[in-house]
Symmetry: C2
Subunit: 416 residues, 2 copies
Amino acid sequence: MIEVTINPGPIKLTVPAGTLLLEVLKQAGVMIATSCGGKGECGKCKVIVSSPKLKPDTLSVSEKELLSAEEIKKGFRLACQCHLNQNSTITVPSFSLIKDDKAKIKSRVKSCLLNSEFKPLISIKKYFLKLNPPSLEDHRSDWTRIKDELNKQSNENNQTWKIHPAILNNIPQLLKDSDFCLTIVLYKDNVIAIEAGDTCHELYGVAFDIGTTTIAGYLLDLVNFKEVAVEACTNPQFKYGDDIISRIDFARKEVKNRPKMQQELIETLNQMIFSWSGKAGIDLSKIYFTVLVGNTGMHHFLWSLPVEKLALSPYIPVITDSIMEDGRALPNFCLIPYARVYSAPNVSAYVGGDIIADLIDIAIWQRKGITLMVDLGTNGEIVLSKDEKIWACSAAAGPAFEGVDQLLKEPELAQV
Amino acid sequence: MIEVTINPGPIKLTVPAGTLLLEVLKQAGVMIATSCGGKGECGKCKVIVSSPKLKPDTLSVSEKELLSAEEIKKGFRLACQCHLNQNSTITVPSFSLIKDDKAKIKSRVKSCLLNSEFKPLISIKKYFLKLNPPSLEDHRSDWTRIKDELNKQSNENNQTWKIHPAILNNIPQLLKDSDFCLTIVLYKDNVIAIEAGDTCHELYGVAFDIGTTTIAGYLLDLVNFKEVAVEACTNPQFKYGDDIISRIDFARKEVKNRPKMQQELIETLNQMIFSWSGKAGIDLSKIYFTVLVGNTGMHHFLWSLPVEKLALSPYIPVITDSIMEDGRALPNFCLIPYARVYSAPNVSAYVGGDIIADLIDIAIWQRKGITLMVDLGTNGEIVLSKDEKIWACSAAAGPAFEGVDQLLKEPELAQV
């Protein structure tokens, strides 16, 4: 085993001799840029091996190509090419880190929950019910008792309310604890939760835009249709490459990789939800609706769908329809099991649900004449609409604009 | 630890000194009768401790009451009262065993699947689809391609077919393996499976009547509406008592008991299904529908619902409605996750779905005049119908008819 010290920090850790430096940085949680997924092609994972001084003959072919003579002299190496064989000190320059920039939160996903025309989609309702306790004259079952009162309260005469055994399971205890006063949570005809007492004022939803680089998330109050919290964080899949093709390559390598990549996304969503829940003092169990958008690749990773054909002509997604599921469909997702999870439809392999959210945000169906909508992310999409017809196309946009921050800071470079 | 030998068998096992003999027999899989659930009240668990000869002063109060002087002399003990402290040999007389009698299969549950008026309930359909492979001119997603062909085949123009991500997951591989020829399995608008090639001739259902004492099960061919296999076995919950009240007592004792009792039922259903599947050469994954009936207690145990209030006035079930779920709702059930699981409605705490199956079997709604239907099991129910009105009542019946087999064999006893 060898000891590695990483600056700034310092972060110290012990790893087996011979470990790839990129692997060491991942273990240390350092978010190093690797556009090519660690193949020695992009030259982004530049770090300085401060000690020991490595001999030039240990440089790989890629390093000789991608590092300048000046850089080699300063001790720069590519993290994906360099194996550590002895105790080492590493310095990670800030330009090699992925930026986790909250200013980048610009997703339109929350429109899916806040736009008034989409309220019927959400359709989560709560009713507070005061029930009469059973007696020898009234020995209706617990569920019949609840249904009868629900029909009275909601002015419906619906005999087809659906309830899962797992929710039924809690009813006797709830009735006892709450003295027959409870709140029922409905999605259309389906009971998604039953709670003790009157909780009608607590009704929340979350919305996520899963970008290739950044995940933007919103916590929304669905009683008042207001934003409660917003956050962005780096897509945890960055370590398999900056672009979608590197990630598809990784997903194909081993059977276990696809569910692993799904779990990483779900864990990130969970962390954001936990953080909001803690800060805003909101009970996790009161979040009943999740909207998810993303490019088609991220959409497939989220649902753990095969991604191979997205990368090969003629570029066929498994599904382009919207998906409406319950929380159980996303393994280990932190919401209650029967919370609704909705992912927006995709248009094709490279025009995804995130663009649908953009179009909802600008209410494109209400616009007269010609509209051009441009979304520049790691992938760039352009949508043109005229007279209720809509055309969309996309291309890799990230690389074209990379370094734009640098250009703004050092204007003389812009003349190059 | 001590060694115990059980005859007939012999079955040998090692247990800690001081273990209750009833517990030893359970571990050995000996199906000993215990009407009272092991409280020393019914005197049914009589066994002979052949060696060592136990001293009369080790007899419990219950044993002194429930065993005759003759029996005590022969070495009889009650298994629920006797702790073993040294190596022992036990003889279990056949009259102390629960009878596992196939002649008892008399359940009407299969009518729920075979009665022509109930076919719409089942409503499982299969379509064989030959798809065109994608091309640059036709880059519909896999699922859109399937839906379009399904609409053509089924002469519907349904845009609301629902499919779960877990089923979508398999589609790309299936298309590859089957050269774009597959069979889709539908329950109403829901896809419950997609299979390679043409499997339209394989479509099965199972039906179970979960009695307090006996579980009767049927495997049914739903293409030809024919019975393929039938079997009965002892309800594994017998060890918690012969009657429903003893079992409710056991379920209340510890939180973990209810899910444990559910698992025992599910394991028994699984064993029956495995056995049929093996004998008849039927693929488990081709069983798409399960009908379950039982008295209200067994129904609640099956769905792991609280049973406490069934035993206390005014006798309130959690639910009396029918339940329609997918296979995931019964943990570890061996059918495919999206197979349909239906349990018939109950009428009240002591008139259950098994009686509904009886009424379906005699098509009570078609009968004119007065009909009396009597079902004598461990519980006995009597149903009277006249002019489209139906009355039902029930009472413990098992004890009243116990020993009837003996009477038939020894007619002179009948004169007593």
